[in-house]
C-alpha cells in the first residue's frame, strides 16, 4: 500500500470517526444520566440533514410539525406547572416560525434544521421515559427500540425513500500534509474537536455540568443535594439531540442522506460507546475514531466483510471488559 492511499484511508476514517465519536458521546451522556440506551439517536442524526434538504427544495418538512406537536403535548402534560406550558407553547411556535424562516432564507436552512430536530430529544424523554422513573435498563431499552421503529417509519413518511444530495457548507478541497481533503471533512473534524472541548468545559467548570455528572454518578446522592434527576435527564437528551443533529448536518454533504442511514450510524456509534463501557467520555471518542478508521481500512481490504469486521470488534472489547472490570453494580 503506498503512502497516498494510506493517507486517504486514514483521513476518510478520521472523518467518519469524528461522526461516530460524537454519536458515542451523546449515547454515553444519555446512558450515564438516565440509563437509557438511545437507539433512535441514529434517526435523529439523519433527520437534521433531511430536514435541511426538504427545506432547500422549498417544502416544509414533516419534522417541523412533529417537533411542534410533541412540544404542545408536553405543554398539556405539564399544564399545572406555572409558566412551563406557556414557554413550551412558545417554543412550539418558534419551531414552526423557524421552519418558515428556513424556507424563506435557504442560507439558514442548516441552522433551522438543527433547531427543528432539537426538541425531539427532551420531548421524547418527557413523554415516554420520564413517566417510568427507576425502571430497569431493559425496560428503557425496549422502549427505545420501539421509538427507533416509530422514527424510522416517520422518516420514510416525511422524506420518502430516495437519498438527498446536500451542498457543502465549505466547498472545495484543502491540503492537509500534502493530501487533498474536502474542506467539509476538515470542518467536521474541527467542529467535533471543538464540541468535545466545549463539553469538557461544561462538565468540568459549570455548575449545571457538575450537577449532570453528579446525577450520573449517584442519583440518590444527587437528589439529596437538591439536584432534579428529571431535569438532568431532559438536559442530557437535549445535549444529545443537539450533538447528533449538528453531526448530521456537518457530515451529510460528504455523502448523501436518506432516512435509512440513521440506524447504521447509531449502531456504529453504539459500538464506540461500548468500547468506552458506556461510561467514559474520552474512551468513547477513542472508540469512535477506532471504528471509523477500522471501517475505512476494512472497506479497502475486504469490502464485502466491512460491516462484519466493524461489529466483530465488539467481541474482543466485551471479553476484555468483562475480564478486566470489577463487577460494580450501582445500588438503587
Amino acid at each position: 500500500m503506498d503512502p497516498l492511499i494510506f493517507g486517504f484511508l486514514l483521513s476518510d476514517g478520521l472523518i467518519s470517526g469524528a461522526l461516530y465519536a460524537l454519536v458515542a458521546l451523546a449515547l454515553v451522556l444519555v446512558f450515564a444520566v438516565t440509563r437509557v440506551i438511545l437507539i433512535p439517536m441514529g434517526e435523529w442524526v439523519v433527520f437534521a440533514p433531511l430536514t435541511q434538504a426538504v427545506l432547500l427544495e422549498g417544502r416544509l418538512p414533516g419534522t417541523v410539525w412533529l417537533s411542534a406537536g410533541l412540544l404542545l403535548v408536553w405543554a398539556v402534560l405539564d399544564r399545572r406547572r406555572g409558566r412551563t406550558p406557556l414557554l413550551l407553547a412558545l417554543a412550539a411556535a418558534l419551531v414552526v416560525a423557524a421552519g418558515y424562516l428556513g424556507l424563506a432564507v435557504p442560507a439558514l436552512a442548516p441552522l433551522v434544521a438543527i433547531l427543528v430536530v432539537l426538541p425531539l430529544g427532551p420531548a421524547n424523554f418527557r413523554l415516554f421515559f420520564e413517566p417510568l422513573p427507576g425502571a430497569t435498563v431493559l425496560v428503557y431499552l425496549i422502549l427505545a427500540v420501539g421509538l427507533h421503529f416509530v422514527y424510522k417509519g416517520l422518516g420514510l413518511a416525511f422524506f420518502g425513500p430516495e437519498q438527498f444530495g446536500l451542498p457543502a457548507l465549505l466547498p472545495g478541497e484543502a491540503s492537509v500534509f500534502g493530501l487533498p481533503v474536502p474542506r467539509q471533512g476538515v470542518l467536521m473534524v474541527v467542529a467535533a474537536g471543538a464540541l468535545m472541548a466545549a463539553l469538557y468545559l461544561f462538565f468540568a467548570r459549570s455548575l449545571f455540568g457538575k450537577a449532570l455528572r453528579a446525577a450520573a454518578v449517584n442519583r440518590i446522592g444527587a437528589r439529596l443535594s437538591g439536584i432534579s434527576v428529571r431535569e438532568a435527564g431532559r438536559v442530557a437528551f437535549l445535549l444529545a439531540t443537539g450533538i447528533g443533529a449538528l453531526a448530521g448536518v456537518l457530515v451529510a454533504p460528504l455523502s448523501n442522506a436518506s432516512y435509512e442511514m440513521g440506524f447504521l450510524l447509531g449502531l456504529k456509534g453504539f459500538v464506540a460507546a461500548i468500547v468506552a463501557g458506556l461510561s467514559s467520555y474520552p474512551l468513547a471518542v477513542a472508540g469512535g475514531v477506532l471504528v471509523g478508521v477500522l471501517e475505512s481500512f476494512s472497506s479497502f481490504f475486504a469490502s464485502a466483510y466491512k460491516e462484519a469486521i466493524v461489529f466483530a470488534l465488539l467481541l474482543p472489547v466485551l471479553a476484555w471488559r468483562s475480564v478486566s472490570s470489577l463487577a460494580l453494580e450501582e445500588e438503587e
Binding site: 476518510d12 430516495e162 444530495g165 474536502p182 460528504l254 448523501n256 442511514m261 471501517e295 472497506s299 460491516e307
Partner: protein, 390 residues
C-alpha cells in the same frame, strides 16, 4: 316460497355473471424503499383498469384487486395468499422487487395460479422447474443487461474493468452475471468490491479500484444510493468510463447525481429513450403510445421504465386471456388458471414497451437481447440513446 325463488334467481344470475369475469390479483411495493418502482406500476395498472391505456379482452370482464406490500417480502406473500383464497384470482401480477417475487413463487406454485413478476432477477424464472412452471416475468434479467454492458465495453476497446456493487441480492446478481460475461468476452475484472446502500462513505472501495487502474468501472446499484460511488470516483479523480445498471433509470438518480453522473453509460430497456429510437425498432410505437397515455394522466416526464414492465405484463395477460377463453371457462377456477398458464407460455410475438415477447416452455421471459436492451448516456441531465444492438 316466493322469497326463496328470488334468492335462487339472484344466485343463478350472479353465477352467470361471475362466469364472464376474469380476476387479476396485483401486489406491488407502492410504499416502502421500492416505492419509486411500485408507484408507476400501480398507476399503469389503474389506467388499464379504467380502460384508458388499452382495450379489454373480448367477451369477458376483467376485475383487478390491487394490494400494497410495502416492499416487504412477508407482506407480499400474505397478499398473494389473500388474493388466491379470498379474491379467487385467476392470475397474479406484481412482486415489484426480486426478493418479493422470489418469496411469492412457493405460494403461487402451491395453489396453481399463473404469476407474472415485475422484478429483474434471473432466478425468478430460471431454471423452469416444477414451481417456476407457474412463474413468468417481463423485466430484462441482469444476465441480459450484463451482456449489453460487456458488448459495449468490448466495442470501446476496454481491456480491464472493475465492479463496485450493492452487498444485496441485486448487487450480487449483477456481480455474478457481469463477471461471467466479462470473462467470456476476454475482459479482465481487476477488482470486485461491495458496499451497502446505507453506507455514508465508499472511499476505501474506490481507492482500491483506482489503485488497479481499470479502463472502466461498473456500479451495480439501484436508485439514488448508486450516486455515492460514482461521486467518490469522480472526486478522487477517476478519468475512465463509468457504467451504471438499469436500476438507476429514474429521474431521482439524475436529480441527486447532478454533475457527478454526467457522461455515465447504462444499459436500459428501449422505452427509456423511446422517442429517440429508429422507427424500425419494434417496440417504439407501443412505447410511445404508452408514454403518451401515462403522461396525459400524470404529467410530462412522469413515465418510467418500471411502469412499462407492468404494461408489458398486462399485454401478455390480455392476449393469453383471449386464447385461454377458448380452452376453459373462467367459472371453473382450477381449469382456467391452468389454461391461462398454458396460454401465457404460448405467447408469441406480443410487442411490448421493452421488446417483443416470444415465450416457450424453457423461456418464461421471452425477450431477445437485441430488442430489449440499448445503451444510454447521461447528457446534460437527460437520457440520450448511445447505441442499440440491432
Amino acid at each position: 316460497m316466493r322469497k326463496g325463488l328470488v334468492w335462487l334467481g339472484a344466485f343463478v344470475l350472479s353465477a352467470a355473471l361471475a362466469q364472464a369475469e376474469v380476476r387479476i390479483g396485483v401486489t406491488l411495493s407502492a410504499t416502502g424503499p421500492a416505492a419509486s418502482l411500485g408507484i408507476p406500476e400501480k398507476n399503469t395498472l389503474l389506467l388499464i383498469e379504467a380502460g384508458r391505456l388499452d382495450r379489454m379482452p373480448k367477451g369477458v370482464k376483467v376485475r383487478f384487486f390491487i394490494l400494497d406490500d410495502g416492499t416487504d417480502p412477508t407482506a407480499a406473500v400474505k397478499n398473494t395468499q389473500k388474493l388466491i383464497q379470498e379474491n379467487r384470482v385467476h392470475l397474479i401480477i406484481g412482486g415489484t422487487t426480486s426478493p418479493n417475487s422470489l418469496a411469492m413463487i412457493d405460494a403461487v406454485a402451491e395453489a396453481g395460479v399463473p404469476f407474472i413478476s415485475l422484478a429483474a432477477a434471473k432466478a425468478i424464472v430460471s431454471p423452469v422447474d416444477e414451481k417456476r412452471y407457474w412463474v413468468f416475468k417481463t423485466p430484462q434479467t441482469d444476465e441480459l443487461m450484463s451482456q449489453a454492458v460487456v458488448q459495449d465495453m468490448v466495442a470501446r476497446g476496454f481491456k480491464t474493468v472493475a465492479y463496485l456493487g450493492f452487498n444485496t441480492a441485486y448487487g450480487e446478481g449483477w456481480a455474478r452475471e457481469f463477471e461471467k460475461a466479462a470473462k467470456a468476452a476476454g475482459l479482465r475484472v481487476v477488482a470486485s468490491e461491495r458496499y451497502s446502500p446505507k453506507d455514508t462513505s465508499v472511499t476505501g472501495q474506490v481507492l482500491k479500484i483506482l489503485s488497479r487502474r481499470p479502463d472502466a468501472v461498473l456500479i451495480g446499484a439501484a436508485g439514488t444510493p448508486a450516486v455515492l460511488p460514482q461521486r467518490t470516483l469522480v472526486e478522487k479523480g477517476y478519468k475512465g468510463q463509468i457504467y451504471q445498471t438499469h436500476g438507476v433509470a429514474n429521474p431521482a438518480f439524475l436529480k441527486v447525481g447532478g454533475r457527478f453522473v454526467e457522461g455515465t453509460l447504462l444499459p436500459a430497456g428501449p422505452i427509456l429513450v423511446a422517442a429517440q429510437l429508429p422507427d424500425a425498432f419494434p417496440s417504439k410505437r407501443v412505447a410511445l403510445t404508452y408514454i403518451a397515455a401515462y403522461e396525459a394522466e400524470h404529467g410530462v416526464g412522469s413515465y418510467s421504465t418500471f411502469g412499462g414492465h407492468a404494461y408489458d405484463a398486462w399485454l401478455i395477460a390480455r392476449s393469453a386471456i383471449e386464447r385461454a377463453l377458448g380452452a376453459a371457462d373462467p367459472g371453473d377456477l382450477a381449469a382456467f388458471r391452468k389454461a391461462l398458464r398454458d396460454a401465457i407460455e404460448g405467447t408469441q410475438g406480443v410487442v411490448g414497451t421493452h421488446g417483443v415477447f416470444n415465450l416457450s416452455p424453457t423461456d418464461h421471459l421471452g425477450l431477445k437481447f437485441e430488442d430489449a436492451a440499448v445503451i444510454v448516456r447521461v447528457k446534460d441531465g437527460k437520457w440520450v440513446l448511445e447505441r442499440s444492438f440491432r
